[in-house]
């Protein structure tokens, strides 16, 4: 028999009401950024192919990268790379039991976001 307490137990399937700890945010963002990076492979291969063909192809690739929407896209992909890079380092350290204790885990997860924010300042400056 169910008590009223059990019946009214909230099911937090509303994504906006689920509060992930920062470590969880790093984790899901690692997955999302990884999928973005995988999807960006043809874009980079296309540019590599074009830029290595001839001086004219190199100039054409540069032109493509200077477009507004392409710059925006490149910034998003570079964010994905920066996040995947720093979160990846964190996961490798976790494998070595570094930063695995709760307090440190939260600290390291925050450090991932700080490091990627700093990296993005340089990367956005470089792209624009």
């Amino acid at each position: 028999m169910k008590t009223s307490l059990q019946k009214n137990r909230p099911k937090y399937l509303d994504l906006f009401r689920i509060k992930l700890p920062v470590t969880g945010v790093v984790s899901i963002a690692h997955r999302i950024s990884g999928i973005l990076l995988v999807l960006s492979i043809p874009f980079w291969l296309y540019l590599l192919n074009l830029s290595l063909e001839s001086p004219a192809g190199f100039a054409a690739a540069n032109n493509i990268l200077e477009g507004f929407f392409v710059s925006l896209l490149v910034i998003i992909i570079l964010w994905a790379l920066a996040h995947h890079f720093f979160a990846g380092i964190r996961f490798l350290l976790l494998d070595l039991d570094i930063g695995i204790e709760k307090h440190q885990a939260l600290l390291f997860a925050k450090a991932v976001f700080v490091a990627e924010a700093i990296a993005m300042i340089f990367l956005i400056g470089w792209v624009l």
């Binding site: 990884g34 492979i41 291969l45 590599l48 063909e53 190199f58 380092i89 490798l92």
Partner: protein
């Protein structure tokens, strides 16, 4: 390819490829900062340099292994119906193979065109 499917080996491949790519990315950044993508000649010379050519092809191979294991895990977490899972995994496999062939075409041809 048991190296890239179940058990401890994909786990190990995922970490080895990650460490290799981390180091390679730092090296790439140093080359870019040093101005090696400023003009076509420097860019092509860099990509065609035998040592770098090998590093970059290994980088792409590490990337494809890493992408396969990572996305395979994600697909297995979210796609539960057997038939659909098979289709999605196959499509992703073909996508990676196509990208692999394209990459090989580009980097085996550098400096020969």
């Amino acid at each position: 390819m048991s190296l890239l499917s179940g058990g401890i080996r994909p786990w190990a491949v995922q970490r080895l490829s990650a460490v290799f790519m981390l180091v390679a990315i730092v090296l790439f950044i140093l080359k870019v900062v040093a101005g090696n993508i400023e003009d076509f000649t420097l860019w092509q010379q860099w990509m065609a340099d035998p040592v770098w050519n090998v590093i970059i092809i290994l980088f792409w191979l590490a990337l494809f292994a890493h992408a396969w294991i990572g996305v395979r895990d994600a697909i297995m977490d979210y796609v539960h119906r057997d038939g659909l899972r098979f289709v999605v995994l196959s499509l992703f496999g073909f996508y990676l193979i196509a990208m692999l062939l394209w990459m090989m075409k580009i980097f085996f041809m550098v400096g020969h065109s």
